[in-house]
Symmetry: C2
Subunit: 189 residues, 2 copies
């Protein structure tokens, strides 16, 4: 295992990640990565056969940096509120938030990015679904509650605020959202 391989590989991926965040998938170019990383374009093409492969790798790195923890404060409501607050905060601060729209756009036409997007999506929803399923098991939620529907009802408004209405996501918003969705007849409890 040559150290040079690993070093240049790391440099390129870091630069690719930066370019991705700055320009999105549409504006991503190998030339730009070469400029920023200081690694020659020929060297890049020795490790990644095509532009798409490099973009995909940079996306996967983004997916990895987005893992979140699953809280366990005792009640479903507290856990859900904790998760939503964290996501709401990240939506306006994390790097990946600026890239997601271009990933969605790419996924609309390219299956490869469809899979990447599915993974990003799964990463967001996983902790929430875990918490909700725990709530069902504990009897805090109705036994026949549809976890997927609940997750959509909880996550959707956050994303809506960020990318559609372009309004801030404060604590009050999250709280009233959680109350609306979890304390309603349809949800049971």
């Amino acid at each position: 295992m040559d150290k040079r391989l690993q070093r240049s590989r790391e440099r390129v991926l870091a630069a690719a990640y930066d370019v991705l965040v700055a320009s999105g998938i549409g504006g991503f170019s190998v030339d730009e990565v070469a400029r920023r990383s200081g690694v020659a374009k020929t060297t890049i093409y020795r490790q990644w056969p095509t532009r798409e492969a490099l973009v995909a790798d940079a996306c996967w790195r983004m997916v990895a940096e987005q893992e979140e923890e699953t809280p366990d404060a005792g009640s479903v409501e507290a856990d859900v509120e904790s998760i939503l607050s964290e996501i709401g905060r990240l939506l306006w601060t994390a790097n990946w938030a600026a890239v997601v729209p271009s990933v969605i756009d790419a996924a609309e036409r390219d299956p490869e990015f469809g899979e990447i997007h599915a993974r990003i999506q799964a990463g967001h929803a996983a902790p929430l679904k875990t918490v909700l399923e725990r709530g069902v098991a504990r009897g805090e939620l109705a036994a026949d509650a549809d976890v997927a529907v609940l997750a959509a009802a909880l996550l959707g408004p956050l994303f809506y605020r960020r990318w559609f209405a372009r309004q801030p996501i404060d604590e009050a918003f999250v709280q009233s959202l959680v109350r609306q969705v979890l304390r309603s007849p349809g949800t049971g409890r």
Copy 2:
């Protein structure tokens, strides 16, 4: 007023709209519009100074085709359900649904498209907000209900289903969503 101007203008705009739907903003090119419309590229540039101007015009045409009616069935719940069902249907059928992600992506970096996106967004939310405000006036909803928050709680899950979870939006989903949001303590009633 020369008829030739109007005719070529119409042809170009129609083709531009098609290209926009097929390729999104990122894949939009004047050359492609020229090829599809049969209008020479030079002629296009005589009426639109730049590519961006043509893209923007095509987007505005899209905005215009997206107007919806405001129902009035007597109860807030019925009206909201009607609106959400219609949007849920359009999200998987209408042309503009395939373009929205690229508009959001562009809006993330270009203020011009930010405004276009705001108009699209407003077009979606307008009928819903009207209905909700009517509900507040009638006393069906709490007097201090935040219409913007309610709109986010209702529209967000639909968009979430379409672009994030990629799951179908059926009647059952809309119904349970409406119940969850409108029949909860936070909303009043």
